[in-house]
Amino acid sequence: TAMNFGTKSFQPRPPDKGSFPLDHLGECKSFKEKFMKCLYDNHFENALCRNESKEYLECRMERKLMLQEPLEKLGFGDLIGGKSEAKK
């Protein structure tokens, strides 16, 4: 590997909460399909499909495929409890 003086090399960082366990049994596949369909319909705009992604993660948490986390910590604070954050 070339160690060029002065040029930065990319340092991959491990994810904050670790790795997703593989969904071998496809338990959350339906949620994923819903999310993908939403993305296709909305021209891949993530902002419009956040409900579906929230549901997918909730599915994972229920089936122990993901550590339980309050949804606010996952950035879904504005979708739960009717809390409206700055959406300008």
Binding site: T1, M3, F5, G6, K8, S9, F10, Q11, P12, R13, P14, P15, D16, K17, G18, S19, F20, L22, D23, H24, G26, K29, K32, F35, M36, L39, H43, F44, E45, N46, A47, R50, S53, Y56, L57, M66, E72, K73, L74, G75, F76, G77, E85, A86, K87, K88
Partner: protein, 276 residues
Amino acid sequence: MGGLWHPGWRPVAFCGWRCIHPGSPARAAERVELFLRPEWSGTGGAEKGLRWLGTWKHCSLPARHPALQPPRRPKSSDPFTRAHVEEWRQRNKTTLTYVAAVAVAMLGASYAAVPLYRLYCQTTGLGGSAVAGHASDQIENMVPVKDRIIKISFNADVHASLQWNFRPQQTEIYVVPGETALAFYRAKNPTDKPVIGISTYNVVPFEAGQYFNKIQCFCFEEQRLNPQEEVDMPVFFYIDPEFAEDPRMINVDLITLSYTFFEAKEGHTLPVPGYN
């Protein structure tokens, strides 16, 4: 007495004016003044004056008459004092050399500091982590920057020795900084044997990579696929809201996330790019 002086005085005055050293009217005035001093009077005064009269024809070069020189510091012929003066001069020279060297060194250090600091950040990894904090409370409180839409495109690669079919399930996704997003990859093991893979990722452009934060993904851990198994691999990430405030990112509208899978064998250290 006074009468004798008269004729002597006038030519002397001339002498004073004739012998003027170009550009030294002060000297001339001094010379004239000297003749007015009491030493010149007296019994020998006339002779001295006449002798001086004779010299005024020959005063070609500016008078180096010793008595005419402005009083100078007596150049001591005493060797002891001279040595002192020499020593002082030597010491001054040495000090000056040292001071000049320090000044040049400081200038050089200020130039060298830029690449050295960069190298330091590279090796200690502080360059990446110091910029954006990854605390989960940051995710909680971050506000999406709605007017800055970024396109994230996805790329998938496998190492030549790994026979998985690995591809993204969407070619691109449009996000804004501060908004968490989900994306999927799919991997299939077409062989008849379970295969364990491990992946790493890369973000292009490099400078944007420091704002790309993964909350959870499938990288850096061994993932086992059974024969003929196909799984969905999600990536949950967000772009740091500070991305919108970085002036270097002003033209960045496309970020490419690229995952590469390698085969993980027992006791095998991976040639994972980016690790040294």
